[in-house]
Subunit: 77 residues, 2 copies
C-alpha cells in the first residue's frame, strides 16, 4: 500500500522559500500572485498491513517537525 | 483562487532525500517501508482570473525543472 504525507509550515510560521518564489514569480512578470507557501510531500511505499497510526508515528518521530509543521496523511490502498 | 502544484522527481531519477528518509525510518525501527520519494508542494494564492495555463507557465519557467521533475496542478476555486 501507499501513503502520501503532505507537510506544510503552520500558518504564521515565516516561509522564506515561499517568499522567494513569490518574488521570483513577480520578477518574471507573473502578476496576481498574492502569496506562496512551499511544503514537502513524501510518498511512502509500505507493507500491506501498515496502519495509518504507524504512518502518524513516522510523521511525529521523523518526517515532520510538529512544533512548526502541520502534516496530512493520505492512505491509498 | 488557489492553486496547488505538486512536484515530484520523474521515475528513474535518483532521489537521495527519499533514500535518506527510507534508511532513517529503518533505523528507527519502522519495518515494511519499501521505498520513499520526496517531492515539493507549492500553494499559490492567485488573483481570481488566473488560468491554469498561467500556472503551467509558472511551472515550466520557475517552479519545476521539467527535465527531471513531473508536476501536477490542482486549481481550487
Amino acid at each position: 500500500m501507499k501513503a502520501t504525507v503532505k507537510i506544510m509550515l503552520k500558518n504564521g510560521v515565516l516561509d522564506p522559500q515561499g517568499k522567494a518564489i513569490e518574488h521570483a514569480l513577480g520578477s518574471l512578470g507573473f502578476d496576481g500572485v498574492d502569496s506562496v507557501r512551499q511544503g514537502k510531500i513524501i510518498e511512502l511505499d509500505l507493507a500491506a498491513n501498515t496502519s495509518e497510526a504507524q504512518v502518524k508515528d513516522m510523521c511525529e518521530k521523523l518526517l515532520a517537525n510538529p512544533v512548526i509543521e502541520d502534516y496530512e496523511i493520505l492512505m491509498v490502498a
